[in-house]
Amino acid sequence: MTTQEIAISRPAELKMPLLERLHELAVTVDHKKLGLMYIVSALIFLVIAGLMASVIRMQLALPNNNLVGPATFNRLFTVHGTVMVFFVGMPIIAGFMNYLVPLMIGARDMAFPRLNAFGYWMFLFGGFLLFFSYIGAPGLAGAGSAPDVGWFAYAPLTGRAFSRGSSTDYWTLSLLVSSVGSLVSAINVVATVVSLRCKGMTLMRMPLFVWLAFVVAGMIILAIPPLSAAQIMLMLDRFLGAHFFDTQAGGSAVLWQHFFWIFGHPEVYILMIPGFAIASEVIPVFSRKPIFGYPIMVAATVAIGSISVSVWAHHMFSVGMTAMGNTFFAASTMLVAVPTGIKIFNWLATMYGGKLRFELPMVFCIAFLFQFLIAGLTGVMMSVAPFDWQLTDSYFVVAHFHYVLVGAFIFTIFAGIYYWYPKATGRMPDKTLGLWHFWLFAIGFHLTFDTMHIPGLLGMPRRIYTYDPGRGWEIFNLISTIGAVFQAAGVLFFVINLVRSYRKGRPAGSDPWDAWTLEWLTPSPPPEYNFETLPEVLSRRPLWDLKHPEDPDWKYE
């Protein structure tokens, strides 16, 4: 194609020598560069932690398998979980929020650009610290390697007596460091959304992505400190001989569980709401209709955020809480399903009667809708305390939360990357490669995680490194592992697509999807200052107003 020959105006620094480009990355405070650095680093961590998951799946493919031993297996699932939540999920949402929030509200940068850079480097070095544990953790004690206490690190496993060497300390410190990064980036988002909106951008005219990012940032501000506090207590226990989680001295192992899940459950929504945010931008644009029920979507998000801080102990039904406690947390957990259901209906209503365009972002969002529905339904099942007593710590739970985090979260992240790829690089992603990615990943996802529910129902506990034949688990585990191969192949197509389209993709122009939010007003890729003159908006869809002066939105809002 001749259009491929057209040069894309890339930022000048991309023509500089490699060393200068690296220096530029190290000192940049530009929200777009930092956003992309967040996303690319997170994708690299995603591939590493994904390969760890593949090893876990290969070990479990056959009964009495001996690919890795029990100790290595414990490290694999601990590091896989920790990396996926803290060094893939958190930075990738920070990346999307950093890149998009200033562009969408018509600002030139975040409120505190240097703080923003600080947050990124805290996250990155936190990640390095965690992986360094593989060689650093034995330390002077000569015991231990990577952390092996599970991603929620229950006491008393983390006590000095049971976790020798420094592996648990690496887990604690790396998360404390990266939590500081998450906190400052959340504070930055809040300050940006409140204080830097362009003229006319009232709160109820903000794109839904910005609204949801705002809610997520507020949740991070409230939910991260409980984790940090619990980790500081754990450090005091391990280094100074304090007794917070030391049951021998009257301390409480259950208190750790409470503190961890006061963080841990809002964390699920901190990851998932940005996924909703991406779907809320993609689905209207590719249905050619404004989002259905904008105020209800905002209200439902705020409701999810509020309710999610009072559901944490549904992770703890089996520790022996009072009947009152179990009832409260079961009821509050079921309550979350209401605003979440409202969202699903609103997305469906947006698509209903629309002129659907099945571009890459849209196909991922449609799959997300189906998969998130199932993930939510198993969630409501688990909220019934007696049902949870039967299935807690089984592969049913593993299947449930992977349905949320892969089937819903990662699918929307893929949608978001394909949707804004033209904006960030100036070139279109390749649709054929993208569809290969979609089908391989979707098929692999369903092979792995649909079947994984069944061994859970049959009683297979999570975190076992192998199992005896003859329990009816073999075929399901084998299918799960085959699914992992499909998923890995899908991700390979994704990476090839990103790299290839960056060089050879069709030039995108400023607004390839005919979208309505302010980021599509800027050239692709946007200049460092974003907007030459700051825009003014009159409605929720400023670019619609611009393209249709005869029938603008602000007449009806």
């Binding site: 409120a111 505190f112 906190l183 959340a186 504070i187 930055n188 809040v190 300050a191 940006t192 409140v194 204080s195 830097l196 909106r197 003229k199 006319g200 501000i221 409230l222 939910a223 991260i224 400190p225 409980p226 940090s228 506090a229 619990a230 500081i232 207590m233 005091l236 100074l240 001989g241 304090a242 007794h243 917070f244 001295a249 009257g250 301390g251 409480s252 208190l255 503190f259 006061i262 122009g509 400023s510 607004d511 599509w520 007003l521 050239p523 907007f531 030459e532 003159t533 700051l534 825009p535 003014e536 908006v537 009159l538 400023p542 670019l543 107003d545 611009l546 603008p552 602000w554």
Partner: protein, 199 residues
């Protein structure tokens, strides 16, 4: 599609006031710090009476009335300093700012004496029992915040002595005072939890 000014055609030209980003950030920091303190206070409350061995709080703790007056008083003096600064009265500002610093140092000195007494007379350390564990971590976390505030207060004082604190920094002074009020407010909670409920 590159003309941004087309959007402004129909726009109203009214004022567009937005809150200060500095204030929003400080409020966020205070909220997140509040969440951190809440967890430590909950741990303290949860562990009241759970120590297996002594010393117990009723035997060794005395309510720090004087130190509390010092710290809460410093919240008042910093407001006086802030008002003087906004009036442009540099001398009065420096005086009240110094008084604030002296009050903060007095509070920390009292904490140091209390800890010295607990450690050397009663043999209570962080590893002695659950009381020691939760006491030193909660009071220590608060004292850490007082020390951080004290460093900032001292920096501002040094700058003001050298004549560098111009009206440009009016909002910075206000934000520091907000943080200081927060630290004092947390002390009211810590006092209630440790010296009233916990004894």
């Amino acid at each position: 599609m590159n003309n941004t000014h087309a959007l402004t055609l129909a726009a109203e030209s009214a004022e567009w006031p937005l809150p200060s980003r500095r204030k929003i950030a400080v409020i966020s920091v205070i909220v997140t710090e509040g969440a951190l303190f809440t967890i430590f206070a909950v741990a303290y409350l949860y562990y009241i009476g759970k120590s297996l061995t002594g010393p117990f709080p009723a035997e060794v703790l005395e309510p720090p009335i004087l130190a509390t007056i010092c710290l809460l008083g410093s919240s008042a003096t910093i407001v006086l300093a802030e008002r003087a600064f906004k009036r442009g009265a540099a001398g009065t500002f420096k005086l009240w700012w110094l008084v604030t610093i002296v009050l903060a140092v007095s509070f920390l000195a009292w904490t140091a004496l209390e800890w010295h007494k607990l450690i050397y007379r009663y043999n209570l350390t962080i590893s002695t029992n659950l009381f020691g564990t939760s006491f030193y971590s909660l009071v220590g976390l608060h004292a850490t915040h007082v020390i951080a505030g004290l460093i900032l207060l001292t920096l501002v004082f040094v700058f003001s002595l050298r004549g560098l604190m111009t009206q440009v920094y009016s909002e910075h002074i206000e934000m520091l005072s907000w943080y200081w009020h927060f630290v004092d407010g947390v002390w009211v909670v810590v006092f209630t939890v440790v010296y009233v409920i916990g004894r």
